[in-house]
Every structure is written in C-alpha cells, then in structure tokens.
Amino acid sequence: MDAFLQQFFNIDILMEAMPLLMRGLWITAQLCVAVVGLGLVGGLFVALASISQRRWLKYPAIIYVDIFRALPPLVLLVFVYSGLPFAGLNLTPFAAVVVAFLLNNSSYYGEVYRAGLQSVPNGQREAARASGLSETQTLIHVILPQAIRNVLPDLLSNTIEVVKLTSLASVVSLAELLYTANMARSITYNATPLVAAALIYLALLWPLVRLVSRYQRPLAI
C-alpha cells in the first residue's frame, strides 16, 4: 500500500511537477481553442457541402467525411508531422496538430451538423423563401439556429472528444499537459505527474460529461 502511494500519489513530486504541468495545461488550452474553433467552422462547411443539391459538392464531401472517420487521428498527425517534411513542408508541432485535427474534427463535426440540418423540416425553408428571404438569409436566420439547437448535446459530446484528442499532441513533442506530465514522470521515475494530469483532465471534462448524460435524448425508435 505504501509503495502504491509512493508511486502514484507522492505529494513532494506533485509539488515539484506542478509548475511544469501548469505550463502544459496552458498549451493544452490554446490547442483546444484553436482545434475546437476551427473544427466547428470547418465542420459546418463540410455539412453544408454534404447536403448540397450539387453532386460535385455532395459526393466529395461524403467521401471526405468517410475517409477521415476511418483514419485514426494519430496516423494523420504522424503523417502531417513526419511525412510532409519529405515533400518540403515543415510544420511546427502546434501547426501540425492543428492541421491534422482540423481534417479529423471537421468530418466529425460535419456529421453532427448534417444530422442537425436534416432534422429541420423542409417547410421551414420553404416558408422562409416564400416570405422573401434569400437562400443565404434562410440558412443563417432560419435553418442553422434550429439545426444547432437540435444537436447541441452531440456538439458538446464531440467537443469533449476533441479536448481528449489534444493529448495525442504529446506524441509529436508538443509540450501540452500530457507531454509535460510524461516528461516529469521520466525525470522523477514516479507516476504521480501522470496521475495529476489524469485528475486535471477529469476535473475539466467530468462536468461536461455529466451535462451530456443529463441532456441525452431518448434514442430514435
């Protein structure tokens, strides 16, 4: 029992590692803002393309979504970070993570938006068009607010996944929370920093997970 506490809940080591972890947490926060923001915007365009009447827009969007849903994000990340330099494209770790996760997230957010857009009855669009709104105005003022409201829990649950995903950035040596924790572990030969990182993720995400469960709507019958 004592060995267990020494290895996983060592207060001295926690105190030592804390400043490092906080710096990592700050990078994680920046990463989350960039990745979630871009994913939300990119996903909207993917969704609009995938329900478009124009075939040259619709089918590429669907193929895009399926390909990036099938590729593990870590594979994308490693490809962008270690593969693209061979083609003369050198990205910083931060930029590589943002690019790789934009590809991955925009397809996941795209699917959520698509479900939302399709949940708005067609009569809404027809009524808006008939009352003189343009196609763009209809989308912005009538369709999107309802579509987004309908899939709010799914947007939130996907955002939780995206935040968890940022931990993969540690693999390409971006000094975010998990990277700093793992570095502290290898210096101290003690797992306490990793436990601390896990507890920080838990403290950030548990309330959101609860919220998602709260608003879980009944499954479609």
């Binding site: 590729l71 490693v78 490809f79 998990l178 572990r185 003690n190 993720y201």
Partner: protein, 223 residues
C-alpha cells in the same frame, strides 16, 4: 509530380515494407476485434445491471462510465504502462492497449445501452411484468432486444472511434500498423511507409465507417 510519387509512393520501399505493414494489420485487427467484443459485452452487462436499480451498485457504474468517458485513453495507457511496473506489475504493450481501450469502450457502451433501455417505453416493462414474466425475463426477452436495436447506430460510431485508437499502441511499442510504419519510416528515410499505413487503416476501417453509415440510415434519426 515524379518527386511526389517517389516520396510518398516509392515502389521499392513499398515492396520492402509490405510484409511488416501486413503483420501490423494483423495485430491491429486482432486488437480491434478483442477491444470491440470485450468493451461491448462489458458495457452491456453494466447497463443491464444498472436496470435493477440497486443504488450503491449504480453509483459505481455511473462513476465508471463518467470517468471512462472523461479521461483521454492515451493518458491512461501511459499511466498503466509506465506506472504499474513501479509497484511490481508489468504488462505488455498490447495488453495495456487492450485493457484501456476495452474499458473506455465499455464506459461508452454502457451509456449507449442505458440510453437504449430508458428509450424503450415504460409500458413494455409494465406489460412484461403484468403478464407474469418477472423482472429478469422482461429485461432479457422484451426490453433487451428493442434496446439493442436502438443502440446499434450510436454504438457503431463508438466502436469505430475507439477501435481505431489501437494506433495509440505505437506509443508503447506495439508493432501494429502505425508502429510498424513508423519504424519503417525511420529505417527507409522515406514517407512511403506512412502512406502505406494510411492505406492499411483505410482498408480496415473504411468498411466499418460505411457500415456505420448504413446502420444510421437503416435506423433513421428522429428527434
């Protein structure tokens, strides 16, 4: 164009490393199937246990599902892989990946099945019990089949998302596709193995993605 092809689709590199990537595919498939089976069954068992409404047990089930959904799997993988040897428990890389991903999937699957159970009309439960079937039989022969049908589309998406996380194994030395390709990339000094890895993942998981799409259409989304 030639340079692009030579960088990402070098035929000699492809020929050299195809056996390694195929071997990696085998490990990826075995891990993914094992995670899917163990995670889904454990999640289903927990969700069924939760329908009995025993408070202390439900408290632990809910806590497990919440924690499993809130923690990034890579954090747990590193914690288990590097932390447990310090107290004398040494697990192999594939074993760590299997345990962590199966538990993660179980947490999500429990939530999905539970949503399925609560979506089945209350009248179904009442009718089953009123006709004298008793709680366990009502659960297993009336509610369960309906709940599973409801749970399939969201569950498929989770299975896809979590089984492809077997790529995280490359971080703890598992020679699955990405691990094999990364090794090949540093040996060959070429990006081609990474392209091969991407194609190998697509070969395995694109059919799953299409199946998930099909399931979604079959059990169409209603709000």
């Amino acid at each position: 164009m030639d340079r692009f092809l030579a960088t990402f689709f070098n035929p000699i590199t492809i020929a050299t490393y195809t056996p390694a990537v195929l071997e990696g595919m085998k490990i990826t498939i075995i891990l993914a199937v094992a995670v899917t089976l163990a995670g889904t069954l454990l999640g289903l068992a927990l969700a069924m246990l939760r329908t009995f409404g025993i408070r202390p047990i439900n408290f632990f089930i809910i806590a497990f599902a919440d924690i499993g959904r809130a923690l990034p799997p890579l954090v747990i993988i590193l914690l288990v892989y590097f932390g447990l040897p310090g107290i004398g428990i040494r697990l192999s890389g594939p074993m760590v990946v299997f345990i962590v991903l199966a538990l993660t999937l179980a947490a999500f699957a429990e939530e999905v099945f539970w949503a399925g159970f609560t979506s089945v009309g209350k009248g179904q439960w009442e009718a089953g019990i009123a006709t004298g079937l008793g709680f366990p039989v009502t659960l297993s022969s009336i509610v369960l089949p309906q709940a599973i049908r409801l749970a399939i589309p969201p569950l498929m998406n989770r299975i896809l998302a979590i089984s492809k996380m077997t790529a995280l194994g490359s971080v703890v030395g598992v020679q699955e596709i990405l691990g094999a390709a990364s090794a090949a990339q540093s040996l060959s000094g070429s990006a081609t193995p990474l392209t091969m890895a991407a194609l190998a993942y697509l070969a395995i998981f694109l059919p799953v993605a299409l199946l998930a799409r099909l399931a979604e259409r079959r059990f169409a989304w209603k709000i």
